[in-house]
């Protein structure tokens, strides 16, 4: 009987502590405000503002022949939604100067006697000069411009059918409109959870050390490690709220549906939240000041999540050592899980391996922090 009472008492103490921590956050309205709005802002930015889609790219035209054909092609290019003709230039030097001022991304150069060449020798040249300081954009722009020019050429030839034609039928799976959001939503989920759970927890624990209130906690009758756990509970709640808002926004504002099981997705998210919280606890073990805690979290969590989860940068392009490192970043596995469940609509059988990895990581992290947790200061 006594054991039961003891347990009851301990539970009660634990919940009092949880309540205290919740009140802490509840009363710091600014922090709470940001914690709740951050995912919303991120989703809006990633979903609406950040696209690699090329449109309205500023271009200049250097037309040395100014005949019917060059006019027609210039008009076609300027009329397309990809390009925005901002300037006619009259020399190569001027092209260089315009590039240096950052005013254009590409220049189209027609040589002298373009139409004459085209009609008499059946062969004419157009030069596309791209600002390749951004290689992907340069590639995309020249591809689009070439396609427009090819169309014009086809129209000259009256679409004569060529023999031995290989046709292709293209099917875009999962994301037929090629929206960026499909890639970003799972990434933002990983990023926000990592940030809220790990960074905020570690800072709030270290704060007690820095302010000297840790001593009070350590001499209290409650087991110290439980106090740490109690500190994580409010952040767990906040992150649940974040998951909900991200999912609602992605479904209703970005039209990214949840194809798979919602419960599986939520379950995996809770698991990842716990992983992040344990990372936060581990960081707080080592750090002495809040500033250090923050920078450690940034360096060991935020950047790796951004870099290695694969949502911003393609992991397969990285050098092998970095690819190996990417495997120890929890967000990478969570990102794969979210993509599989939410977007591809796969079941647990497809993600059990990743789930197992996250569970193993959580257990390891927690045991290290329990092992390293010091009851004594200094």
């Amino acid at each position: 009987m006594y054991g039961g009472q003891q347990l009851n008492k301990e539970m009660k103490q634990f919940f009092i502590f949880v309540k205290k921590e919740c009140l802490h956050i509840w009363r710091d309205r600014r922090t709470l405000f940001i914690l709740i709005w951050m995912p919303v802002v991120q989703i809006v930015l990633y979903g609406f503002a950040l696209t690699n889609e090329v449109k309205n790219s500023k271009i200049a035209i250097f037309d040395q022949s100014r005949d019917q054909a060059t006019m027609a092609i210039s008009n076609e290019i300027a009329a397309s939604r990809y390009f925005n003709l901002v300037k006619n230039v009259y020399s190569y030097e001027q092209i260089g100067a315009t590039f240096r001022q950052g005013k254009i991304r590409m220049a189209v150069v027609f040589p002298r006697g373009f139409r004459y060449d085209l009609l008499h020798s059946n062969h004419a040249q157009i030069q596309l000069i791209a600002d390749a300081s951004d290689p992907n954009t340069a590639n995309t722009l020249t591809n689009y411009a070439t396609a427009i020019i090819n169309d014009y050429q086809q129209s000259l030839n009256n679409n004569a059918d060529l023999p031995y034609t290989i046709k292709t039928q293209l099917r875009m799976l999962y994301n037929p409109e090629l929206k960026g959001a499909y890639n970003f939503v799972p990434g933002v989920m990983a990023l926000v959870l990592m940030l809220v759970c790990a960074m905020m927890t570690s800072i709030s624990i270290v704060k007690e050390k820095e302010m000297g209130t840790m001593e009070v906690i350590l001499v209290s009758p409650l087991k110290p490690f439980r106090i740490i756990i109690a500190k994580t509970v409010p952040y767990l709640l906040v992150s649940m709220l974040n998951i909900a808002s991200i999912l609602l926004l992605s479904v209703y504002a970005l039209d990214v549906p949840i194809v798979g099981s919602l419960w599986l997705l939520l379950g995996e998210s809770v698991l990842f939240t716990i992983t992040s919280l344990s990372v936060g606890i581990l960081i707080s073990n080592g750090a002495k000041t809040q500033q250090t805690a923050m920078f450690t979290s940034m360096m060991s969590l935020f950047l790796p999540t951004l870099l290695f989860s694969g949502f911003l940068f393609p992991v397969e392009n990285m050098p092998i050592p970095l690819q190996v490192i990417s495997n120890v970043v929890p967000s990478k596995w969570y990102y794969i899980i979210v993509k599989s469940v939410m977007i591809k609509g796969l079941g647990f059988s497809a993600v059990w391996k990743e789930t197992l990895i996250l569970v193993a990581m959580t257990l390891t992290l927690l045991s290290i922090s329990i092992y390293k947790f010091k009851i004594r200061l200094a």
Binding site: T31, G102, L118, N122, L128, Y174, K207, I343
Partner: protein, 373 residues
């Protein structure tokens, strides 16, 4: 202004005696500049290809070889059926499957036409878009080869043909690092500058040491300047470390003048540090100020054009970038380093930044009150 001298002395000593600051100062640039550019390689290559070949003919083999030898694709999977191929996409083993129908060769030769099926995992839209463009280009090329085999083309073009030549200026090797490193440098300087500045005054508040400053005969302007100058120096130091690393590790030598970069950075840092100090005067706890400055720099970074081109953004986002100091610096950095722009080319950028600097710093001075509570 005598007080300023002592304040500076105090701040510099505080910084030089804080090992964590020194560590962060040197480790951050190392990590960011050594690892990030390696990772931030957006170039679309290494697309994992799955093939479902129902034909097994000489033509289909030749086509597959041609695709693989292009260098963009890696043959990862051979499946017997389309549904099996789809499974490999689900498991992320492949990004793109090419299905070659049975009798591909026969119908091409006999019926003059044949159709290939391509399915792409398009969760990553950019990769899917470029990947499918590449493979269609290769197939077209292959198609041309086949035609050449069967038809004797005359030596001259029979139809009007326009040849398009592409010149890639400023980065002819299309090296992604050349593009990313200047941007990453900006991010680095911004993160260090703004977060240190944002933290600093709050730390004094939280520790209670601000009371001492409040009761001493230090003017508000002097106090803000005393905080601004040391961090300005630190950030310039970090910029120098960064530029040196960029030069030694990546061989990136600015086409323009270093002086142009430093001139702009000097003004830029005044603006960004002013913003940090401003946030710091509003915050009550370090946790708050860190989170707020993190939040603000995150928005600035995302809307800076570092990851995605500004022209692609919708009008409202482009409008926001006009008020984003980071986007100016990234643009300038790329202009100076890659295109060799000079001071005259970036004069409007500098003017805008001077405006930001005056705005943020005067606001910070106005908002710093020597009363506590």
């Amino acid at each position: 202004m005598r007080a300023l001298k002592f304040l500076l002395q105090k701040e510099l000593r505080q910084i030089s005696r804080d090992p964590s600051i020194i560590r962060i100062l040197f480790i951050m640039p190392m990590i960011q500049l050594l690892i990030l550019p390696l990772a931030a390689d957006y170039e679309i290559k290494n697309i994992n290809l799955g093939v479902v070949d129902h034909d097994h003919s000489a033509y289909s083999t030749k086509l597959i070889n041609k695709i693989v030898s292009s260098g963009y694709f890696r043959l990862k999977d051979y499946s017997a059926s389309f549904s099996q191929g789809l499974r490999s996409i689900e498991l992320d083993k492949t990004d793109l499957i090419l299905e070659i129908p049975a009798q591909f060769e026969r119908s091409l030769v006999k019926e003059n036409e044949s159709t290939l099926f391509i399915a792409v995992n398009s969760i990553n839209g950019v990769k899917a878009g470029l990947g499918s463009a590449y493979i269609q280009g290769i197939i077209q090329n292959y198609n041309q080869d086949v035609r050449m085999q069967w038809i004797q083309f005359p030596r001259f073009d029979i139809q009007p043909t326009i040849e398009v030549t592409v010149s890639n200026w400023y980065n002819p090797n299309m090296n992604y690092r050349v593009f990313m490193v200047p941007g990453i440098l900006v991010m680095l300087v911004t993160m260090i500058g703004s977060s240190f500045a944002a933290n600093n005054i709050v730390r004094e508040k939280e520790m209670g040491t601000i009371e001492q400053i409040n009761v001493s005969p230090i003017k508000k302007t002097e106090f803000i300047l005393g905080k601004l100058i040391p961090f300005w120096m630190l950030a310039m130091l970090v910029l120098t470390i960064g530029l040196t690393l960029a030069r030694l590790v990546y061989g990136i030598i600015p086409l323009g003048h270093y002086l142009t970069i430093y001139t702009f950075a000097a003004v830029y840092l005044l603006a960004i540090l002013g913003l940090g100090l401003l946030l710091s005067t509003y915050a009550q706890t370090q946790q708050q100020s860190m989170l707020v400055s993190f939040f603000v720099t995150m928005i600035f970074n995302l809307l800076s054009g570092l990851y995605t081109p500004i022209e692609s953004m919708p009008a409202w986002a482009q409008w926001i970038t006009k008020f984003n100091p980071v986007s100016y610096f990234i643009e300038v950095m790329r202009m100076v380093m890659l295109k060799g722009s000079g001071l005259a080319d970036i004069r409007y950028h500098i003017l805008a930044l001077i405006g930001f600097a005056i705005f943020f710093n005067s606001w910070a001075i106005l908002n710093y009150s020597k009363r506590s509570g």
